[in-house]
């Protein structure tokens, strides 16, 4: 047993390259709960949900994952205080993956995660802010060497570089199955710089839950709210569903519900996330 303890300690040392990971001792732990729902029902990978979108369409949902960044809590003085995210298999470089699929689809994994863990200075907090996305600075580095959870190939956003910030699939990957993959678009690169230098459309949803009790509340991501007003049974342009292509008019209502600008629509308040 002693030996095991020693080996584990050394293992931690060996894994610690370039990262001292020592938060100041006075920090307090936070664990933010997230949940995925479809209207009134919890999301269960592979379940069928009725009455979705503009035409009340049923869909079999087979994936539901998203990244969050820039997590902050509001302190008693009303100031936003960044949450220092823990490093673990679902979190690295200030990014966390919320993962509600259990591998029911071919491109999923059995592991689930509904909690974002980190630390903040001691105090009382009553509000929550985050963005759905991966920061530009790490979105376009070599994904082949990125640490988990930024090394899941089903979340690579290869055609522009970077990651799928949100992946929700229905069905089993036929070209006609409704899917939404959200990521940055309009990216430019430079061979001298060796990669992407800018993206016209960041497509990071900004979420602010002004009253949020960390110990009692849950952040709820609602698929029914995401597809509200969207004809998910139809494919007006480009892909079935929305791969974030600016030409895909099917993306319009979905981007609006995410508060993101799309075409003529400047974007506004997001409807996908709420506190419960």
């Amino acid at each position: 047993m002693k030996r095991l303890g020693m080996v584990m300690a050394l293992g931690a040392l060996a894994l610690g390259c370039g990262d001292d990971g020592n938060a100041p001792a006075e920090q307090q732990d936070v664990a933010l709960s997230f949940a995925a729902v479809v209207g009134e029902e919890p999301f269960v990978c592979g379940d069928t949900y009725e009455n979705l979108g503009a035409n009340g369409t049923p869909l079999v949902l087979s994936d539901f994952r998203f990244y969050v960044q820039d997590v902050a809590l509001k302190n008693a003085a009303g100031a936003w205080v960044p949450v220092e995210l823990e490093e673990n298999s679902f979190q690295s470089s200030g990014v966390a993956l919320l993962d509600f699929e259990d591998g029911c689809g071919e491109l999923g994994t059995p592991e689930l995660n509904g909690i974002v863990r980190g630390t903040v200075p001691p105090g009382d907090y009553d509000g929550l802010q985050f963005k759905m996305g991966v920061p530009f600075e790490i979105n376009h580095v070599n994904s082949a060497t990125a640490p988990s959870p930024l090394n899941l190939t089903s979340l690579f956003w290869n055609w522009q570089g970077g990651y799928k910030f949100l992946r929700i699939d229905s069905g089993q990957f036929s070209e006609t199955d409704w899917r939404m993959h959200l990521g940055s678009t309009g990216c430019e690169g430079d061979p001298m710089a060796g990669g992407v230098t800018s993206c016209a459309n960041g497509n990071r949803t900004e979420v602010e839950l002004d009253t949020f009790d960390v110990s009692a509340n849950t952040v709820v991501a609602d698929f029914a709210a995401l597809v509200e007003g969207s004809a998910v049974d139809q494919d007006a342009a480009a892909d079935a569903g929305c791969m974030s292509k600016p030409v895909d008019t099917d993306c319009g209502p979905l981007f609006a519900n995410l508060g993101l600008s799309f075409g003529e629509n400047p974007g506004g308040e997001q409807q996908f996330f709420s506190a419960e």
């Binding site: 050394l10 055609w159 522009q160 690169g189 001298m192 060796g194 993206c199």
Partner: protein
């Protein structure tokens, strides 16, 4: 205690090798570019220096069907050496049967591309481009999404690979990784240099017909009396025969995308949906139909032509440019490409005699590099 000591020494070994980039060329044979004096070496990323061991590993990986989800295809399935690493199809077919909207590009001189694929300014590193066919889902090519662990397992279990990876990545504890796979394949692609054509031997090596064609290509006056009537070299000039070039000494971004009047579906100059070139990335209507002018090296063996393989022969390509755009009279793609509002100013059309056409094509045929097509060092090691 003995166990503990052994564990400790093992761990200290891991500690010792675990940090730093561990990818120096020490122990691996040095790489030497085999290039004529007229051609600069390609840009090589600092974190992926060339070595013989890495290029050879990259060759095996490039041709290995383990690199597709269902093990039916390799990179080489759509990039055949004898066709200058194209596939002869109008549009490529992926491992699951999905038809790609675009035609497989030649990989000859891929290390010199200012941007990779047909029209994507964001993709500039071969290492990252390799992830697109491997893991892309829209469309599915090699179909490896979510199979990275399975892929690594397949390679670890093949007795050939562990020593090859160890030789190519000598200072790494566990060299079989996604990163080392893409770095090896990228190194193999950088090694696909092709500058040994008849054209590279100078004009004196060319027949009179080929010389006349070369003159027309590079701005000569046609029989109709028009100087630089053909205007080919403006987009297809330089040592690569493409302006969209990058190399070791490049100081500026030379990415180039032009509209050559293949389609004109509406007043915006639209191309068939989902295949509109630079527009698919930028969403700027002025970018509709803009694609990278590919290198014309080996063009005689890379038919069919254009991003969607919609022109079958070199003769028809010349006729397309002579008209200054393609007229499609009926069907879903009807429209006159000559009138496309985004069309390049170089596509004005020209009068060309039958002899001039044959001369021009004779010149294009001098761009074939037989070494590239037959060099055993670049060939499929799994071929029967």
């Amino acid at each position: 205690m003995k166990h503990l000591l052994r564990t400790l020494s093992l761990l200290s070994l891991i500690l010792w090798t675990g940090c730093g980039d561990g990818d120096t060329a020490s122990g691996a044979e040095a790489w030497v570019w085999n290039l004529p004096d007229t051609v600069p070496p390609p840009r090589v990323p600092e974190d992926n220096p060339m070595s013989l061991a890495k290029v050879e590993l990259g060759r095996f990986l490039f041709y290995d069907t383990k690199l597709s989800g269902n093990q039916t295809q390799s990179c080489g399935s759509c990039h055949l050496q004898e066709l200058a690493f194209t596939d002869g199809l109008a549009r490529a077919e992926g491992s699951t049967g999905e038809i790609h909207p675009r035609s497989s590009m030649s990989l000859a001189n891929a290390g010199y591309a200012a941007s990779l694929t047909w029209a994507n300014p964001a993709v500039v590193r071969l290492e990252e481009q390799a992830l697109v066919p491997m893991f892309g889902e829209d469309p599915v090519e090699l179909g490896l999404a979510n199979m990275e662990d399975e892929l690594l397992r397949r390679l670890r279990e093949d007795e050939r690979y562990p020593p090859m990876f160890a030789a190519a990545f000598p200072n790494q504890g566990d060299p079989i990784s996604l990163d080392s796979i893409t770095k090896s394949i990228a190194s193999f692609q950088r090694a696909l240099t092709s500058f040994n054509s008849k054209h590279d031997q100078g004009s004196s090596a060319l027949t009179l017909s080929e010389q006349r064609g070369k003159a027309l290509f590079f701005g000569g006056t046609t029989e109709a009396g028009v100087p630089d009537a053909l205007e080919c070299f403006h987009c297809h000039g330089g040592f690569l025969l493409s302006q969209a070039v990058d190399h070791d000494g490049s100081e500026f971004n030379q990415q180039t995308f032009i509209n050559n009047g293949l389609y004109n579906l509406d007043s915006d100059g639209s191309y068939p949906e989902g295949n509109e070139g630079l527009f698919d990335i930028t969403n700027d209507p002025a970018d509709k139909g803009k694609f990278k002018p590919p290198s014309l090296r080996n063009v005689a063996v890379t038919a069919p032509y254009m991003h969607d393989g919609s022109i079958a022969t070199l003769e028809e390509v010349v006729e397309h440019y002579a008209r200054g755009g393609r007229l499609i009279e009926s069907g879903p793609n009807a429209g006159d490409g000559f009138e496309n509002p985004n069309k390049s100013a170089f596509l004005n059309g020209f009068e060309i005699t039958e002899q001039e056409k044959q001369d021009l094509i004779a010149f294009l045929r001098t761009l074939t590099d037989e070494d590239l097509l037959t060099n055993p060092a670049l060939s499929d090691p799994f071929a029967p």
